[in-house]
Symmetry: C2
Subunit: 298 residues, 2 copies
């Protein structure tokens, strides 16, 4: 009995430790599945014999097993008629000349912040957007909405939202650098081109679609798809002698979405002011990397 | 003494509970900071008076306050000379004609899985990659590496890696659909074009760079930037009459990165087989959304 009375606290401690470990264990499991299982996709990925730890970005995590990586190989295709495809074929010297010409044209493109208010035909913007809409997309979802704003009042409201957020960004960046020239910094959050440019193009990515039965359908690779379409959009602008600057307004997405009355499945990806360059436009004297720095041939 | 001996187990239990709660508490804190603080950026974002809950994707989370959303407004620019910029300007009718011509050309582009083994000049690929390299990028980091593979053995190893993972994907997708025609499914994970296409272009995004002092420098918006450059790449291929299919091989990134000896900061974004279309190439009879479905004018 005396032995038992001595042992009781020891037993109690052991019991507590066991319960404690069980509690910690279950919590650990929950934690792991919460942090990696941001979406259903990740937990399903656990079934896989080999999981790609290196690519756990947004795209991979949201990719479920009903989506393969081959964008045009989607399930929808199975029911579609396949038709012969024979695009124009050029002789080799023509290919070379065309490849060089396009490179020369695109290499003249620069991000331009000084945009002229001069108008140009709306039909040009229409064709530029049409061109952007020819981009490939995951499972051919075409998950893009291009909001083209020429209304001066709406442009001004967009400017107000963007500048307000930019000012917050810059003031925070200042931090202990109070001595820094405030006037110089101010030019950084003033975005005059948002009022001046005849058109603002706000590119929204549709993160999901709505099926006929009302259920959500995730748009896999929507950010990559919409960014690719922006690449075509930039090419199309350069092709007609218009300029823009590629901006991703930090933290402005929800406010701009509400202002432009876009639905909840659309998120702002890129904002492009579009116009002719101002006659006194300047650009920083940046250079691009030479081919050897961006290409590896095996 | 007897009372003490009775109390001892109770005290031991209380002590254990206290220690247990302290342990759980600290673990909770750690868990929270790990799951939300995926990068330094997220915790810094907490300082902000207004945090964009709607845009908590990978891009926003990694965007720190030393990066604004205006890609060419980077800190580096401040020290750069600004030079006048006056690109070619076209009359309105020329703009209209050019915008229409490019749209017509790009609208002929399709994702093609049937690629001819016929060779074409390497210089064409060089110019296509040069064109892709003219894309804008966050803070002008140019965070892309284009690995061009023409070596048959390397192409075959790429095919082996991709098909192995695809087969796992498809077999899992089968699930309880055992009765489904296996032979039909098999065609989905066989990627003959990876052997046949004269060139494979593997596009890597550089998630960070290495500064002269050896420290890492995060490449903000690297996925958007590299995807935009892929848009230019697709335009450049279409412009010379070559075809490709945009693929994002699921879970193959790390194996392909090792095979191609790319450094740890590079992650595979897109794999493009490139060549002339096979003479009997077919494509699914897909339609694109009309302008009214992708554009909103305000």
């Amino acid at each position: 009995m005396a032995l038992l009375s001595v042992l009781t606290p020891v037993l109690a401690v052991v019991l507590c430790l066991v319960i404690g470990f069980i509690l910690l264990g279950s919590r650990e499991t929950k934690t792991t599945s919460t942090s990696t299982g941001k979406t259903e996709g990740a937990s399903k990925a656990d079934f896989r014999p080999w999981v790609d730890q290196d690519l756990q970005d947004d795209t991979e995590i949201t990719a479920k097993e009903d989506e393969d990586g081959d964008w045009a190989d989607s399930n929808e295709d199975e029911d579609l008629l396949h038709v012969p495809y024979s695009p124009p074929r050029y002789p080799e010297e023509t290919m070379l000349a065309r490849s060089k010409d396009l490179y020369t044209l695109m290499n003249q493109r620069r991000s331009v912040r000084f945009i002229s208010p001069e108008p140009f035909p709306q039909e040009v913007i229409d064709n530029v957007i049409r061109t952007a809409g020819t981009a490939p997309s995951g499972a051919h979802t075409e998950p893009w909405t291009f909001v083209v704003v020429s209304d001066p009042e709406t442009k001004h409201q967009i400017r107000r939202i963007v500048e307000e957020e930019e000012e917050v960004n810059y003031r925070q960046r200042m931090g202990d650098k109070w001595v820094h020239d405030l006037a110089k910094l101010k030019t950084n959050w003033i975005k005059e081109y948002l009022d001046v440019a005849p058109y603002l193009v706000l590119v929204f990515k549709q993160t999901y679609g709505i099926l006929p039965n009302g259920k959500k359908r995730t748009h896999y690779y929507n950010e990559i798809s919409v960014s690719i379409s922006c690449g075509l959009l930039l090419a199309a602008l350069q092709n007609v002698g218009l300029v823009t600057v590629t901006t991703t307004p930090l933290n402005c997405g929800p406010q701009l979405r509400l202002l432009l009355k876009r639905p909840a499945n659309e998120k702002l990806l890129i904002l492009l002011p579009v116009g002719y360059p101002a006659s006194d436009a300047t650009v920083p004297d940046l250079k691009r990397k030479p081919l050897d720095d961006i290409m590896v041939h095996i």
